[in-house]
Symmetry: C4
Subunit: 203 residues, 4 copies
């Protein structure tokens, strides 16, 4: 069976489904405050504002998950066939994606707690690591279309930089917990600049 | 990567997934009354009728979400390719759509409360605004098929009118809370009439 | 826009999504008994058996929903194009489908209560009615492929018989509550026999 | 209608949807401990570690479900058309798949309890049995593509071995509860070895 070449449409459909459900389930962590019934406008606003950390976690997690979906989408733009090993790598990848509502719940309840931060960032790093394995395996096993190699090496760079950004976040959250959200945007911005320069050089 | 032209099938699949889940999760706000077990028929009917506001919110939110899905579907009828910027606009759009079960929960629990009304209508307006950005960006960036331009300008009108209707609703809910549900059907009806006249003129 | 002919793939995708989520959410009504932790084997079996009505509701509702999905699937086998009216009929159809977890929850908590039975069967009847409207509209508006007309009239019969079966169930549940589950299998069986005879006659 | 040959794309879409939702709903059984708010790091780690059995159930159930999805995917690689009987076999198969979050919840709450083990393994065995019926019916009814018969008999072997592994698990869980997790990996490993030898013989 190992030599059987499968189409990619169904693993894409399963992945889109898991991403869509995961991203939509994040909203279930935002509970409508039950006590607000007969409260005044000001009390109610304050109670909504008290949901602030949960909202921030919703927005950040939704966009990070969206980013992972986009990178996954880009890899399948180049992948032509799927084999059993790639399916199993993807299933483990999806298992880590589906864990996000739990990690996000841990974050929003316990915003600055070191252990919840480690768990949340660790989950993201594990997703990024699996995405690298997925892409490197697909590239190394001849499952790709004969496509534009410059575009493909840019994607390799992007996926690698994403993993590096979360690794830096994790390291910071261990040694400098208060700064743990700095590395992600910094490294991503660095990646964008490197990518732009590389484009310039090549033209 | 920015110059890479992606197919539209996977962003459509993710969008259909998020819409389907969001619309189906709305039903979770309708709780089966647990106290009804040994109650008489009349008590039970009264308890079901007490769920009236929650049912109304379910129906209205489901149909509004369905309308947004339809407009989104219509834009992709004309869109041929997708690029990174359009993907990110869509992810933010979907993030606001996935927030609807929370807004709907706020509405049905606190039916005439000004703050919950503002939040609910604000959520809808934000979705309509993103849909306009999505459509105007796609039109301005050459991502469309060379299609029937009359149909396309009708769609531009429709999407604009939808945003205007929710903006009018929001303004009314601030100044005349009791009338906040009037502008939506009025403006939509006006849009239908304008559209019909325009069709007549052109033929 | 009314004259715009849309493809059918996205309304199919939204429908498949709503059906899949609705059918899977039914399981959330089956709660793991929390008290069972240190109980003996016999106590535990008894507690699982106490979930019997909830299991029966799960199986029956899943299969009825599956049957509606199959009929919906069959109609789209013959539909070639979709217009705005058909989209809106489908959205109302899906709104009633997405209500099933609530109706099923009402059923399994209050198994023989007349009001919950009326609500549950009424929900199914409303779904069947919308399916008829959907199919008759599609047939009457030239949205179908020029297909095998014998197959199409068999489908018309099937969809009509399904609605009749639920109408008979509803009437029975009003006048003879204890017999309300008899009409459904009887009418469906009658439909199968009529269909078989018709096939014979035509060959 | 029985002689109507349907496309396979919609039953695949419904199946992918049910699998994606089932696998993602498993995470809802992992509850964020609410008591952790003001606890120390060590207390928090201990509380996360207390979720260990629930995590193990999440990982094992996600991967088993993923394996069933893969086998189902492989069967549809060879299936060309779908008829009414196959649709109903698939709906019963999906009904058993959608039950997994309940079985998994039973497992993780009551880890070594014989009744919960029997229920969990029984659910898996029922899924495997339906998959065999699905495949044997499709093969026996001429719904397959004229495809590579060696690949097809390997798939028959795989699906049969999977059912045998769960049957052995179930038997062990009755007579030797403490060893109930041994047969699954042993039989699967045996299947891999047999498959490898068969491949050798044929080349």
């Amino acid at each position: 069976m190992r030599s059987l070449m499968l189409g990619k449409s169904r693993i894409e459909a399963l992945s889109d489904g898991v991403f869509a459900i995961t991203m939509t389930l994040l909203v279930l962590k935002l509970e409508v405050p039950e006590v607000m019934h007969h409260s005044s406008n000001e009390q109610m606003l304050q109670q909504l504002l008290a949901l602030g950390p949960a909202f921030a976690t919703y927005v950040v997690t939704f966009l990070i998950a969206g980013g992972f979906w986009f990178l996954h989408h880009l890899t399948f733009h180049f992948i032509r066939h799927v084999n059993g090993v790639l399916v199993w790598i993807n299933l483990i990848f999806l298992m880590l994606v589906a864990l996000l509502p739990f990690s996000a719940g841990l974050m929003s309840h316990l915003l600055i707690h070191p252990v919840s931060q480690l768990f949340y960032i660790g989950n993201q790093l594990a997703i990024a690591a699996l995405l690298n394995i997925h892409w490197l395996y697909a590239k190394g096993s001849g499952l790709l279309d004969a496509a534009d190699s410059r575009q493909m090496s840019l994607l390799t760079l992007r996926i690698g930089v994403t993993a590096a950004a979360f690794a830096a976040s994790l390291a910071t959250s261990v040694f400098l917990p208060a700064w743990s959200w700095v590395p992600l945007p910094v490294v991503l911005l660095g990646g964008v600049i490197v990518e732009a320069r590389r484009k310039e050089t090549e033209t």
